[in-house]
C-alpha cells in the first residue's frame, strides 16, 4: 500500500521537461560529405514556399505559404547564402545548386507532391531525391525543410541527390511567430560551416 502510494507520489513529481514551446525547437542538418560545396558559386531559390497540396476531382493545386511568413523566411535564406559567398541567379541561368524550401502542413502524402511541384511547377523538368542515408522519416507536421541539390545532373531520370538539408522541427506549428523559423535557418547555416564558398 505504502509502496503504491509512494509510486503515485513519485509520478506526480516526475520532472517536467520543456516549459515553453520554444524549448522544443530543434534544428537538424545533414550533408553529403562527398559533395564539394566550395567549388560552387551560384544558387536559385523560388519566391514562394509550398505548404500543402489540394486534390479535387483529380486536379491538384498547390497551397503556398502566405507572404507575411514566406517573405522573411526567403529573405533569411538569401541573407545566409550571400553571407556564405553564394550568388543568387535565376533558374534559367543554370545555377550550381537549387534550394527547395517547404513547410510541411501534413506529412502523409505531401512528399511526392512536393517533389512534383519542383518537377512541373517551379523548376520544370528537374527533381531531386534523398540519398538512402537521409532520415526523412523524422520530418513531422509543421516542419520547415530546405534541401540543396545540384540540378546539373546527367542521369537517365534527371534527379539529383540532395547535398544538404535542414529540418526545423515543428517550428511552423503552434505559434504564428516567424522568428522561430528564421532563427532555425540561421542556426542551420551556423552549424554547417562547410557551405561557405568564400
Amino acid at each position: 500500500m505504502l509502496v503504491f502510494a509512494a509510486a503515485i507520489g513519485l509520478w506526480s513529481c516526475y520532472p517536467d521537461g520543456p516549459d515553453y514551446y520554444e524549448d522544443t525547437d530543434i534544428t537538424f542538418t545533414q550533408h553529403d560529405s562527398e559533395f564539394d560545396f566550395a567549388s560552387r558559386q551560384t544558387y536559385a531559390l523560388p519566391d514562394r514556399i509550398v505548404v500543402d497540396v489540394e486534390i479535387e476531382n483529380g486536379d491538384t493545386s498547390y497551397v503556398y505559404m502566405r507572404d507575411v511568413y514566406a517573405t522573411p523566411i526567403l529573405q533569411t535564406i538569401d541573407a545566409k547564402m550571400s553571407e556564405y559567398g553564394w550568388t543568387k541567379v535565376a533558374i534559367s541561368a543554370s545555377p550550381d545548386v537549387v534550394l527547395t524550401p517547404a513547410a510541411f502542413k501534413n506529412t502523409t502524402y505531401f512528399y511526392s507532391y512536393w517533389y512534383d511541384w519542383w518537377w512541373g511547377g517551379w523548376y520544370p523538368g528537374w527533381g531531386w531525391y534523398y540519398p538512402p542515408y537521409y532520415t526523412i522519416s523524422s520530418i513531422t507536421t509543421g516542419s520547415m525543410v530546405i534541401n540543396m541539390a545540384d540540378p546539373n545532373v546527367d542521369n537517365p531520370v534527371d534527379r539529383a541527390p540532395v547535398a544538404w538539408m535542414m529540418i526545423g522541427n515543428g517550428l511552423a506549428s503552434g505559434s504564428n511567430n516567424v522568428s522561430r523559423i528564421t532563427d532555425a535557418i540561421n542556426q542551420a547555416f551556423e552549424q554547417s560551416p562547410y557551405l561557405k564558398t568564400n
Binding site: 505504502l2 509502496v3 520532472p15 520543456p18 534544428t27 542538418t29 552549424q191
Partner: protein, 198 residues
C-alpha cells in the same frame, strides 16, 4: 551421529534465530546523486526516489532479504549543437534517468537490541537503468539490466517494539551492460520508517 549433531545444531540455531525474530521492512524516501558516467549525464542532486528494504533476522545481528526502489534523475542542457558524422542537431536537451534496483541483500547489525543500532550491508542483484534524452520531439532511449552491487551503511533508531526510523547511504553500482559502455552508479541517501514484525 556427528553429522546429525551438526545438522541439529544448525537447525537449533536457525529456529532460535527465528524464535526471537523478527523481520524489518524499511520504506525510505531516497535522494540520489549520480556518480561516474551517470553523474556526467545528469549531474543534479535528485530528490525523487524511494527504496524498500525487507530483512528477515536469521541471527540477532544478521538480516537477509531484498532491496528494491526507484530513483529518478533529471537534468537539462542548454541550447547547443551536437554533431555526429555528417549530422548536426541543435536544441535544448532534457535528460531523464530511471534506476530500479532489484537485489538480495544482507545487513549486519552492530548493536542488536539497542535503540541505536548501526548496520552495514551489501545487496547483490540487478539494476535496471533507463536513460532518455529528449530534443524537441525526438527521444533517444538507452537501457540496460546491469549486474549490480549496493553496499550500504546506516543506522536505525527504535521508537518502540514495532517501529523505528533509519538513515542509510547506499552506493548503487550497476556494471556496464546493454546500451551502456560504462558502469551506471549513484549514491542514494535514504530516510526511512522501519516496521518491525514477527
Amino acid at each position: 551421529m556427528k553429522k546429525f549433531l551438526i545438522i541439529a545444531a544448525f537447525l537449533v540455531m536457525v529456529f532460535a534465530g527465528n524464535a526471537n525474530s523478527q523481520s524489518m521492512t524499511t520504506v525510505s524516501y531516497s535522494m540520489g546523486l549520480g556518480t561516474g558516467d551517470l553523474g556526467d549525464y545528469a549531474s543534479t542532486f535528485s530528490g525523487r526516489g524511494f527504496t524498500i528494504d525487507y530483512r528477515r533476522m536469521v541471527q540477532p545481528n544478521v538480516g537477509v532479504g531484498f532491496y528494491s526502489g526507484w530513483n529518478v534523475f533529471y537534468d537539462e542542457r542548454p541550447f547547443d549543437t551536437y554533431t555526429m558524422d555528417n549530422r548536426s542537431i541543435s536544441g535544448k536537451q532534457y535528460r531523464y534517468v530511471n534506476s530500479v534496483p532489484l537485489m538480495v541483500a544482507t545487513d549486519y547489525y552492530l548493536k542488536p537490541g539497542e535503540d541505536m543500532n548501526p548496520f552495514i550491508g551489501l545487496g547483490v542483484g540487478t539494476i535496471y537503468t533507463e536513460r532518455a534524452t529528449d530534443m524537441g520531439i525526438y527521444r533517444l532511449t538507452e537501457d540496460a539490466w546491469s549486474f549490480a552491487f549496493a553496499p550500504q551503511v546506516g543506522f536505525m533508531y527504535s521508537l518502540n517494539r514495532y517501529a523505528g526510523v533509519s538513515l542509510a547511504v547506499k552506493y548503487n553500482m550497476g556494471l556496464a551492460a546493454g546500451d551502456f559502455d560504462s558502469s551506471q552508479s549513484y549514491l542514494s541517501f535514504n530516510i526511512g520508517y522501519v516496521f518491525m514484525g514477527n
